[in-house]
């Protein structure tokens, strides 16, 4: 009996109280995770302002602060690498987004012979690691004169060429947009392309943003392909490949803080891009289109 009396208040705990407790627990956990997550970034940021020496050291807070490391970046090939990376990422993301969205729309809306076979084939092909194609890709790019110092167009070609296979996510999203909207627009006088541009894409903002972000970020941070295609020619390197050179055993003592400063600059565009675009993630906009 006494046990029952003790249990009673717990059993009747108010909905508000229980929600407050679970929310508090969740927020504390999230706060801890985000702090752990941010520590390396904060370390790199602080190290980039350390000017007393350029070696890796055993402390985090600089003894002398300054922007020397950032100024030194401009005396190296860093601006060239940065520009290379920016051009590759920008062009690839524009082309890749266009191709992925067209592909997804076609696979979502058109019914043609071999459609399912094509989708299955791409799914299976996508399961092979891209690295497998590296040697043959290099051969092809070398024949086209798109390696080493000319690696930028070569890399754009590599990143864009396979983008049609990334249709799954956006096709899945397009499938959720009622077909009758397409039909209404076509009856209203729109061409298929106008339907995509004026109806489907505005309704698919979250997925378009997702496509742009992923299409921008994967070339932006790529190392393996970029290293391989540029083959040591500084003019064809991207930031990841170029900066990796500073971490060699014989260079790290001179360039460690330089590397940190470069790392901070590399993070800026992606952060800005994400901050600008993230608000579109918030809400889907299909409410009220058709009777639910």
């Amino acid at each position: 009996m006494s046990e029952n009396t003790v249990m009673a208040p717990k059993k009747h705990m108010g909905l508000k109280t229980s929600r407050r407790i679970s929310n508090t627990a969740i927020y504390v956990l999230l706060a801890v995770i985000s702090v752990v997550w941010l520590i390396p970034f904060i370390c790199i940021l602080l190290q980039s302002f350390r000017v007393e020496n350029t070696m890796p050291v055993g402390y985090v807070i600089p003894k002398r602060w300054g922007i020397d490391n950032y100024l030194r970046l401009f005396q190296t090939d860093f601006p060239k690498w940065y520009l290379n990376t920016f051009i590759i990422a920008l062009v690839s993301s524009v082309l890749q987004t266009f191709i992925v969205l067209c592909m997804s729309y076609a696979l979502s809306r058109f019914r043609f012979k071999g459609r399912k076979l094509l989708m299955r084939l791409m799914l299976i092909l996508g399961m092979f690691p891209g690295m497998l194609t590296m040697i043959i890709l290099y051969r092809v790019l070398a024949d086209l004169g798109m390696t080493q110092a000319n690696a930028v167009p070569g890399l754009i070609l590599v990143y864009v060429a396979s983008s049609g296979m990334l249709y799954y996510v956006s096709k899945g999203f397009f499938d959720t947009i009622p077909k009758s909207l397409d039909e209404a627009a076509r009856v209203d006088g729109a061409t298929r392309f106008q339907v995509l541009k004026k109806i489907i894409l505005p309704l698919s903002k979250p997925i378009v943003i997702y496509t742009v972000l992923t299409a921008f970020m994967s070339p932006w941070g790529d190392f393996v392909f970029a290293q391989y295609v540029s083959m040591g020619a500084s003019a064809g390197k991207n930031v990841a490949v170029g900066m990796y050179g500073w971490l060699n055993k014989d260079q790290i003592a001179n360039n460690y803080t330089l590397f940190c400063a470069g790392g901070v600059l590399v993070a800026i565009p992606v952060t800005v891009l994400f901050l600008c675009l993230q608000k579109y993630y918030v809400e889907g906009v299909t409410g009220g289109a058709v009777k639910g």
């Binding site: 076509r186 009856v187 209203d188 409410g287 289109a289 058709v290």
Partner: protein, 376 residues
């Protein structure tokens, strides 16, 4: 303003299922034609073929004399209202209605005039700046109609536009569509599964089943002279009672003998049977619930039965009765004609006598299910 002609139209899907068989119909300029039938009868598919949203497997569709089989929907000069409204959710009501006009690159001031004019007719002027999600079902359907209205198209297609609305709103919108039709004065093709909508809206009704046209006619024609049992049961609510019995001809006189009663056939029906030289045979006798009356006492022409359920509908009673052999029939009795004593006697288990006149009977051949008075 245009005529629409469908000749031998067929729809065969990739999985070899035939949704529409040999559909032939001539829709006159400014006519309001309703396609009606149960789900899956091919009515929406036919409409979508006219709209250009489905390929035509065989046959031709002509709008205003021009074959449009290979024309894109945008080139057919049609307007369409969808069952689920299909409003563009990211646009305001104004932009939704203006969408087609902007695609035509019409000047903005002209668009403004057209949109506000349509909004006024439909009573949605106050909602022009709202997004569809902030509207009720009825308002959304008005916007959808407005979007179709401003285009001044040759043909106005409506695919079950009222079926997502509640009963009260449906009645109201039905009346508004009749008014709209008078204002627009254009050719309408309207698809519905609701026979009341078909009867009230259509100049002509096309009744379909399993991809075939069962009958084409005015509301009065299909109600009074249904071509077969399917049409007879589909049109009218509650549906027509069907009684298997025998039609006997002696000389120029016909009698039917449902449940042992002897009922003579007279009036126009007798003339039509004579015209078709119909002999004695097994038939299905059709009688509408509103044509059956309660007899005061048992007689040669009355059928004894037992009351099972009494549904009070307000202005009338729907009496579900069963005869001695267990056949179930429905009788519609106006409450106005009943004394309170009579009404209180209509309880489950009550014994009743019913009868009907020879003028209101429908005679269907027991085998072919066709109406014997239609001369086929």
């Amino acid at each position: 303003m245009a005529s629409v002609k469908l000749t031998g139209v067929k729809k065969i899907y990739d999985n070899k299922v035939t949704a529409v068989h040999d559909f032939n119909l001539d829709i006159k300029d400014k006519e309001f034609v309703v396609f009606v039938g149960p789900s899956g009868c091919g009515k929406s598919t036919t409409l979508r073929m006219v709209a250009g949203l489905e390929d035509i497997s065989e046959g031709t569709v002509e709008i205003d004399g021009e074959v449009v089989n290979d024309l894109q929907p945008k080139d057919r000069d049609i307007a369409m209202v969808f069952q689920n409204y299909a409003l563009y959710p990211h646009m305001t009501v104004y932009d939704n209605i203006a969408f087609s006009l902007r695609l035509k690159k019409m000047p903005e001031d002209e668009i403004y005039e057209k949109v506000t004019n349509a909004a006024e007719i439909l009573g949605i002027t106050d909602y022009l700046t709202r997004k569809p999600r902030a509207l009720s079902g009825g308002q959304r359907q008005r916007v959808a109609i407005g979007r179709a209205m401003v285009r001044n198209s040759k043909v106005f297609l409506m695919d079950e536009p009222l079926s997502n609305l509640d009963a009260k709103l449906r009645n109201q919108m039905r009346a508004e569509i009749i008014l709209l039709r008078q204002k627009l004065n254009t050719t309408f093709i309207y698809v519905t599964h609701d026979q009341t909508e078909a009867m009230t809206l259509g100049d002509r009704i096309v009744i379909m089943q399993d991809g075939y046209i069962e009958q084409v006619g005015t509301p009065t024609e299909v109600f009074e002279m249904p071509r077969n049992i399917f049409v007879a049961e589909f049109i009218g609510a509650p549906k027509m009672n069907m009684i298997p019995t025998k039609l006997t001809r002696s000389g120029d006189n016909y009698t039917v003998s449902p449940f042992g009663a002897r009922l003579p056939v007279d009036g126009e029906k007798r003339e039509l049977l004579l015209e078709g030289d119909v002999g004695s045979r097994e038939i299905i006798l059709g009688v509408r619930p509103e044509h059956i009356v309660l007899a005061d006492s048992a007689s040669e022409s009355s059928i004894p039965c037992t009351l099972e359920v009494n549904e009070m509908m307000g202005s009338e009673l729907h009496l579900h009765v069963y005869t001695e052999d267990g056949t179930r029939l429905i009788v519609r009795v106006p409450t106005l004609n009943l004394s309170s004593a009579q009404r209180s006697g209509l309880v489950a288990g009550a014994r009743l006598n019913i009868t009907f006149s020879g003028k209101v009977m429908h005679f269907f051949d027991a085998e072919s299910k066709l109406n014997l008075c239609c001369g086929e």
